[in-house]
């Protein structure tokens, strides 16, 4: 089957129009690009920083017609080069690559860690106002929490979103409290209105939201889902985190999808550098059903380094 849709395999130079500091180490770079702007949630681009490297980056939402963004955490050489790009400077972008989330209806749980939140943000824009969405996000410390307000905004901005949950979220997303009394899962504010979206934050050091990791409170959230069982869980972030989430979901019989990260060179299924067991992550994925992943011997355990040698996470 010939791949369809609009894909650009040659890197095209685009100019960064806006830069947002999300945390001291995370920035969002906004630009205009019709093709990237109309990508599906979970797709990624190959982003070339001239003179430096080319890196895979999830495609982030941005307001404004034909606009898109990347949100990058400064880490090694390549990500730092991208992080340092300033407004008015150019990078070159090809893609979008990979599949996208199978966006179900109903009660959805989105769990992200760090820049793993990026594809989840675009996912939110593809849900319906009726869908009841919980976003669970983890960070090391309060300083490193980002996208919490954006997540609330996106939840309430869903077309025709009925329940005025924006203010509630605005005040509540930062507390990250949740109650599970009487088997009731309820989100902090005490509001009587049916909430169609909530954002829960955890930090390892407890400086913001719930102390601990997202995986620590996952069981509680899934167990006490007052509004009924979750219809689907979507996750993107460190693989060890995703591994736990997929196991939890499958224990509860909940449909789950996770987005994998691997070494990427071509992004289109030629070079093989992203192989994970039988899966060609850039093309078959990056998003896989939990059931499929649990059958993949490498998921949660190993990735391939630049030489293609399997390496433990």
């Amino acid at each position: 089957m010939r791949r369809d849709g609009r894909i650009r395999d040659y890197p095209e130079a685009i100019t960064v129009e806006e830069v947002i500091d999300e945390t001291p180490t995370v920035r969002t770079l906004i630009f205009s690009d019709d093709i990237m702007s109309s990508s599906m949630p979970g797709q990624f681009a190959m982003v070339w920083v001239p003179g430096a490297f080319e890196l895979p980056m999830s495609i982030m939402t941005a307001t404004g017609r034909g606009r898109a963004a990347f949100t990058v955490r400064r880490h090694g050489d390549a990500s730092t080069a991208l992080y340092n790009i300033r407004r008015g400077e150019s990078i070159a972008v090809r893609g979008p690559y990979g599949n996208s989330f199978d966006v179900r209806r109903g009660r959805l749980l989105l769990v992200g860690g760090g820049t793993g939140l990026v594809p989840l943000m675009r996912l939110v824009t593809h849900t319906n106002p009726d869908d009841d969405i919980t976003i669970l996000m983890g960070a090391r410390t309060a300083d490193e929490v980002f996208f919490d307000e954006l997540a609330s905004d996106l939840l309430s901005a869903r077309r025709g979103a009925g329940s005025g949950n924006r203010d509630d979220q605005g005040s509540s997303h930062s507390t990250g409290d949740y109650n599970c009394g009487a088997g009731d899962y309820n989100y902090g504010t005490g509001s009587e209105a049916p909430l169609r979206g909530r954002v829960i934050v955890t930090t390892d050091d407890g400086t913001r939201g719930k102390k601990g990791r997202v995986t620590d409170i996952l069981d509680a959230i899934v167990d006490c889902s007052a509004g009924g069982k979750f219809d689907a869980i979507y996750t993107c972030g460190p693989e060890v985190m995703m591994y736990k989430i997929v196991q939890t979901a499958s224990r509860h019989g909940i449909f789950v999808q996770a987005s994998l990260e691997r070494m990427m060179k071509c992004g289109v299924g030629i070079c093989g550098s992203c192989a994970a067991g039988p899966d060609i992550v850039c093309k078959d994925g990056t998003i896989f059903d939990g059931r499929h992943l649990l059958a993949n011997p490498e998921f949660g355990f190993t990735y391939r380094d630049k030489s293609g040698i399997p390496t433990s996470w």
Binding site: R8, D9, A13, G51, F53, S90, S307
Partner: protein, 295 residues
């Protein structure tokens, strides 16, 4: 040489995972050629290493990143069911011997000596352009593999006459020729005013090189008669495959097309060839090999 079908995975394409090989074999690959392996692991060049040209063409300078012969042999040792052709790259006869020894206990259906990679120093084309060295390496590889597996030599367009490379390979004892590898090329970005690939130069593959590859297969077949040829370069569908067979190839390899099609392309090309043969009343594939030479 055991092939389960005439359509083979080309070297460097998805060639580092045994699990992926299984999947491709199930999809109809008659054999798989591994990523070219070197004596020790290589990390290759920095990204950008592969870009598309949006016309069916691809440019790559992966830099022969690979886990090294030993690691790879360990990975494929359990395999018995899939016909695996091990691609090797190196500068000296000794390196090739060393690597072939590592595959002692593996079920390797053939070795393919990469004498044609156009963008890594001291190996590939730089070897292929030196007929004496080609003869020496092929001879050594033949000796090292003994009766265990035939030796293919993969050629490409370098800075000498590739037909001399083929001749030297045959002199050295090569059992078959793979033609062709990518063609040295480059991309420059007008806006950014610089070469796109980190290595500047890379190899062109995919649809654009098909007419060149087809000519090479035809020329090798008409010059060297009996030597079996694996045709490679820009094959995207059954018709392309048939053209290569008519030019003189006994089997074909596909690579870049996987950037645009799913892995079931192997099955579809197989089916296309079979239907073509039925339509034309050709019983055995062998009967159409080189048929266009006679016209």
């Amino acid at each position: 040489m055991r092939l389960d079908g005439p359509v083979v995975l080309a070297s460097g394409i998805l060639g580092i995972s045994l699990d992926v090989f299984r999947r491709l074999h199930r999809s109809g690959a008659g054999a798989v050629v591994t990523k070219s392996l070197s004596k020790s692991p290589w990390t290759g060049y920095a990204n950008p290493t592969v870009i598309g040209l949006d016309n069916g063409g691809w440019l790559n300078a992966v830099g022969l990143s690979n886990p090294g012969a030993q690691n790879f042999a360990d990975m494929i040792r359990p395999n018995r069911e899939i016909p695996i052709i091990v691609s090797l790259v190196g500068s000296t006869a000794a390196e090739f011997e060393y690597m072939i020894d590592k595959f002692d206990e593996c079920a390797v259906v053939a070795y393919e000596l990469n004498m044609s990679c156009p963008h890594v120093a001291k190996v590939g084309l730089e070897v292929g352009d030196d007929p004496a060295l080609v003869r020496e390496i092929v001879g050594a590889a033949k000796q090292a593999s003994g009766d265990s597996a035939p030796v293919l030599v993969k050629v490409g367009l370098g800075s000498s006459n590739y037909l001399d490379t083929v001749g030297a390979a045959i002199d050295g004892g090569a059992d078959a020729i793979t033609a062709i590898n990518t063609i040295r090329s480059m991309a420059i970005d007008a806006e950014l005013q610089r070469p796109v690939l980190s290595n500047r130069f890379g190899g062109l593959s995919g649809a654009p090189i098909k007419p060149i590859a087809l000519r090479c297969v035809y020329e090798i077949a008409s010059r060297f008669g009996d030597i079996p040829i694996m045709g490679c370069g820009g094959i995207s569908n059954w018709k392309d495959a048939v053209e290569f067979i008519l030019a003189g190839a006994s089997a074909v390899q596909i690579g870049s097309v996987l950037g645009e099609e799913d892995v079931d392309i192997f099955g579809r090309i197989n089916t296309g060839i079979t239907e073509y043969m039925e339509r034309k009343g050709i019983d055995r594939l062998q009967d159409m090999v080189g048929h266009a030479q006679r016209r």
